[in-house]
Amino acid sequence: MTATLKRLLALLAVLSLFAAACSSGDDATDNADTDSTEASDDGDSGDSGDDGDSGDSGDSDDSGDTVDLAQGGSVLETVKARGTLNCGVSGAAVAFSFTQADGSVTGIDADYCRAVAAAVLGDANAVNFVALTAAERFTAVAAGDVDLLMRNSTWTQSRDTDVGMDFGPTTYYDGQQLMGRASDGFSGSSAVSEIDGAVVCTNAGTTTETNIAELAGTLGINITLNTFEDFNIVTENFIAGSCDIITTDGSALVGRKAEQQPEGEEWVIFPATPISKEPLGPVYGQNDSIWADVVNWTVYATIIADEYGVGKADVDAALAGDAPEMVRLLGGEGELQTAMGLPADAFYQVISQMGNYSEMFEANLGPVGLVREGSANAGWQDGGLIYAPPAR
Amino acid sequence: MTASFTDPNAALSPELAARDDMINCRGVKKWFGDFQALKGVDLTVKEKEVMVVLGPSGSGKSTLIRCINRLEVHQEGNIIVDGIELTNDLRNIDKIRSEVGMVFQQFNLFPHLTVLDNITLAPIWVRKKPKAEAEATALELLTRVGIPEQANKFPGQLSGGQQQRVAIARSLAMEPKIMLFDEPTSALDPEMISEVLDVMKTLAESGMTMVVVTHEMGFAREVADRLVFMEEGNVVEINEPEGFFTNPKSDRTKLFLSQIL
């Protein structure tokens, strides 16, 4: 017995040391590929040296080279070297990105992750989806845990300037809306001032919470505001009747209404006169214009293809076709794409594997009842805001 | 201060007087907070001498021998054991502890170790002896104290007398020059006392230097070279056994003897 105990103790002591060693080694690896921005600022300071050689200790010399390259380079190089794209998503946002039973992620945000992977790596499936909560998403971008964040994140001034990240072109123009019950006397034309005395529920840690509180103050109405960490509980409580009104981005409300409205009850979404503007789009690390170009032009490529009506099916025809902008975009004249470090057929891959903007919209947002026509998400020719600079 | 100065070398037989000092206490004082347990004890124990310390409870007997092993730290005076003075010096403390064995009233065997492991623990880890050698010694010692068959049992499975004999064997395994006994028989049932005392007698006959705190008068009379009587932190009388029992010098000793005999 003693012998066993003795050995056990000795072993535990050793193991605790290892655990300490492991965790330090661990974060070293975490940094090795993503730490480039900080490290490059400090030049050859002690910290970066520390990370560098711990990364070295396991990797071969060429991995060391990668780190060197990345020091002055872009996320683009890192992604190419890694062979997969780390893409931050919500994992729990209906129609935008949700986790399926087999672990795959579906939704328009997820599709844009795939589109970027198709552009950079030629394979739409070379994506690691990292599910992130609202609270941790921006830290993940700033720390480089993800290369790209597609997590219905609103582009705001403070976020753009503050926290070490940049925003790409908007992929969905959203706006905060409210949803109530028809049985409470609401209609599609109800005004916010009518919710006096209501129990309003929304999700915590987002702009919607602040918006509704401020609005209630401005309108001088009394509301009880309950906030929850995730929107499922909000909807649950709305169904149960514990909440009178729920509010979040209009797209989510439409989705919830389409999927969860019980039999015999009528939910109404208040008019789209926005309480707030919520432009949603890709987010990436600050001051990396190479990577920003790649992401932005992937989005633009889907929009331009949409303008020309070129989808998955007719992409080959378009490549051989006579619209010069489209031919250029699809890599007919390769230098535009190669100039930004992508293969010439990058956007050909995007359109052929993922389709154009319309196709992605219809495939993901259509089923939950969201329509482009008449909304801000219509193409610019149809009076919407979806617009891309020319590919020249 | 109670001033009953006793000569530490009193009542020494010429044979003993010729030998070297093993333990030498000079003016040892010890306080527990406000309570003074030792009030200046002077004592000399000669090589191979068996000294029995008597006295009513609370008289400082246990404190004295615990100071000799530095289980308690004395605050004033000097204690020199086998030529080494007890100070804060780690090396000296280690040296003395491995030379002085101690047997406790409550045995203090390690309940989670077998008898054999109890005995070999210190020889292996303190004396750095090979395990096989330590075990051989342990078995030999167990034979000497008369319980070789109990080697693989746990202390909880032994009777009190057997446990105390294991405790003695455990101390002896360190090959101490001096053995301290702190009331070794007072936690035992009467029928077990003799088996422990017999072991102690054998040990005394083999020439071990021993300091024994006990209430066993028969043992004291039979085995001791000298008797020390303590009261209230002072040494009241030092005498050889016959003189102590038949013709005590101090009144306090007489009173004590009359109560106890």
Partner: protein
């Protein structure tokens, strides 16, 4: 049910209030039994009435909850994989099965080599089966049960009741006859296999999110592995029993303990991470360094363990420690660069050197000590090299998975690290040195005074603030560190309880024998203290396990988040929180309950209660 029956009898044995049930009490006839146990007095009869109403009402309500119209149990059945391993790639699943197989094999080996043979008397078996049958019958009769399930419940209830009562009637003196452990193991294995092959679960084959197999029965990729798992569980046990007489038991036991402490870490690391070594670099850099440390360090340690070396050894050890610390300081300020693992190795060497006098001794002991050092070097260098190497696996949240696996992994690592940390703090808190004591006390009481959730928030959102520029921790690592520091304070309190139960005499006896303070602590005090605190430590482990659910709040994709958020966000199962939560409760319950049962039998075995 079975377990509760156990509790009942335990209560009767332990309780001074209830009468003892002697093992040879004959089985009474039901009327007499009811008279004694339910209607012994008017008050008792009244109580029985009240509880019949309460229990019946609760059962009715619960059955209604489980079979509510709006519940779609397909949500759980379809998402089982998501719940347990989140988005772990399906084509790599063989690794998960491999590690599960290792663990099950270890369970069997442990049972065989530690003689763990829980057996159940036939009487208890019969009573449990009848109880289960009766409950099932009642559920079948309740109006809340949907008509489809009603028949199943009635049939199962009737079968179990008949089997239970039949067993009790057929076997005479059923309390003296026992069902052996191998039989129970075999029955369990066969039941699981039968369940996998015979019970339809449905919706289980996917192609990129779309269900392509709506068939009723679990698909072969689940059935066959489970059959193999059960074959391992049962087969390894019988194999081990067969070879046990030929093998030395002690070393196997030591190996098994080592496996249970360190094995899961290896499985997580090796099987779920799979480093791709660059062998050129391994040969040129890693192996030479490891050999260098092993040889030079071994020589130093061999010299340091010389008996009676004196303070020169201590000085050398302190000097080594100085060098080791300096290396870290240098790394911090960028004075000179060095491989991370050399820094770690220096530190470990210094600690080994400091501990050397404690383990000093004759030649064989010294060789053993050096051997331990070499093993540590080999292991450590391999681990660090592996960790710093890219993995062949594309898992979204390296190095862990999500779902239940992450709960288990966090639980395992937290316990592994907080245990030694807690032991050190407990020693510091009971030490006689005032500054150590005050520091440990302040830390422990501070941590115990605040809720875990605030600690997790602090670490998940603030750790990067406290680190120098350029250093960063992943979210999960931060959570893990926070949870470990939290848990260590509780572990320390439990061990302190054990330390205080070690009697003063033990210390004195050790001192009298000349053991040094560290020898006294390692060989005498800690073993006794740990044994006393085992039940409390297991209790603490259960609490730690349950509280892994709190990482849900700081945003980790653990079991609870998958059930409550991820599944409820799938268009097919929008809003199916209730079924997810019920399933999560059931799984947590099974694990926590088995752990508490195990700890209770451990307590009885160690006789801690009777001390």
């Amino acid at each position: 049910m079975a377990a509760i029956q156990d509790d009942l009898s335990m209560n009767l044995e332990a309780g001074g209030v209830a009468p003892d049930v002697r093992p040879d009490t004959p089985v009474k006839d039901p009327v007499q039994w009811m008279k004694e146990n339910l209607f012994s007095s008017v008050g008792n009869a009244l109580l029985t009435g009240v509880f019949v109403a309460v229990l019946g009402g609760l059962l009715w309500w619960f059955v209604g909850l489980v079979f509510k119209d709006s519940n779609d149990w397909d949500a759980v059945a379809t998402n089982i994989r998501l719940l347990f391993s989140f988005n772990y790639p399906a084509e790599q699943y063989i690794r998960v099965w491999f590690s599960l197989g290792m663990l099950l094999g270890a369970v069997s080996l442990t049972a065989a080599f530690f003689d763990i043979n829980p057996s159940m008397s036939v009487r208890k078996l019969g009573i449990n089966a009848s109880g289960l049958g009766a409950t099932s019958l009642i559920v079948g009769v309740l109006p809340a049960t949907p008509s489809g399930a009603r028949i199943v419940f009635l049939i199962i209830g009737a079968l179990f009741l008949a089997a239970g009562v039949g067993t009790l009637q057929a076997v005479d003196e059923p309390h003296k006859k026992f069902v052996s452990f191998p039989t129970m193991l075999l029955t369990f294995g066969l039941s699981v296999v039968a369940f996998a092959w015979l019970v339809p679960i449905g919706r289980n084959e996917f192609a990129n999110g779309a269900v392509i197999d709506e068939g009723g029965f679990a698909n072969p990729s689940t059935k066959i592995p489970w059959t193999i798992m059960m074959a391992i569980l049962v087969g390894v046990y019988f194999l081990a029993r067969a070879v046990k007489p030929m093998l030395p038991v002690k070393p196997v036991q030591t190996f098994l303990i080592t496996f249970w402490v360190a094995g899961p870490a290896f499985l997580i690391f090796l099987v779920l991470r799979d480093p791709t070594f660059d062998y050129d670099r391994v040969l040129k850099v890693d192996i030479p360094w490891a050999i260098g440390f092993a040889v030079v360090g071994g020589a130093i340690l061999y010299w340091l363990t010389k008996p009676m070396l004196g303070e020169i050894g201590r000085l050398v050890a302190v000097a080594l420690l100085g060098v080791a610390v300096l290396n870290w300081v240098a790394a911090f300020f960028g004075w000179w660069s060095m491989l991370q693992k050399t820094r770690v190795s220096f530190l470990v060497l210094a600690l080994f050197a400091l501990a050397a006098p404690t383990f000093a001794g004759e030649k064989s002991a010294r060789v053993r000590y050096v051997g331990a050092w070499v093993a540590v070097v080999a292991l450590g260098h391999w681990l660090i090299t592996g960790i710093n190497t890219t993995s062949t696996l594309d898992i979204a949240a390296p190095p862990f998975l999500g779902g239940f696996t992450i709960s288990l992994v966090i639980f395992y690592y937290v316990m592994l690290v907080s245990f030694p940390l807690g032991a050190i703090m407990a020693l510091a808190r009971t030490s006689t040195l005032p500054i150590f004591r005050v520091m440990a006390t302040v830390y422990i009481e501070f941590i115990r005074g605040i809720p875990l959730i605030t600690v997790l928030f602090f670490f998940s959102s603030m750790v990067s603030l406290f680190l120098p520029n350029g250093m960063d921790l992943s979210e999960l690592a931060a959570i893990f560190i926070g949870y470990t520091l939290f848990s260590a304070a509780y572990v320390a309190e439990n061990i302190r309880g054990g330390l205080q139960s070690v009697r003063r005499g033990q210390f004195e006896a050790s001192d009298a024998l000349g053991l040094t303070t560290s020898q006294r602590t390692i060989f005498v005090v800690l073993p006794q203290a740990l044994r006393v605190s085992i039940p409390n430590l297991v209790g603490q482990a259960i609490a730690t396990f349950k509280e892994t659910s709190l990482i849900f709040i700081v945003g980790a994709f653990d079991f609870l988040r998958v059930a409550n958020v991820s599944i409820a966000s799938q268009p097919d199962y929008l809003g199916q929180n209730l079924v997810g939560l019920l399933f999560v409760s059931a799984v947590y319950w099974v694990f926590a309950y088995s752990m508490s049962r195990a700890s209770r039998s451990l307590e009885t075995k160690l006789g801690v209660g009777s001390r």
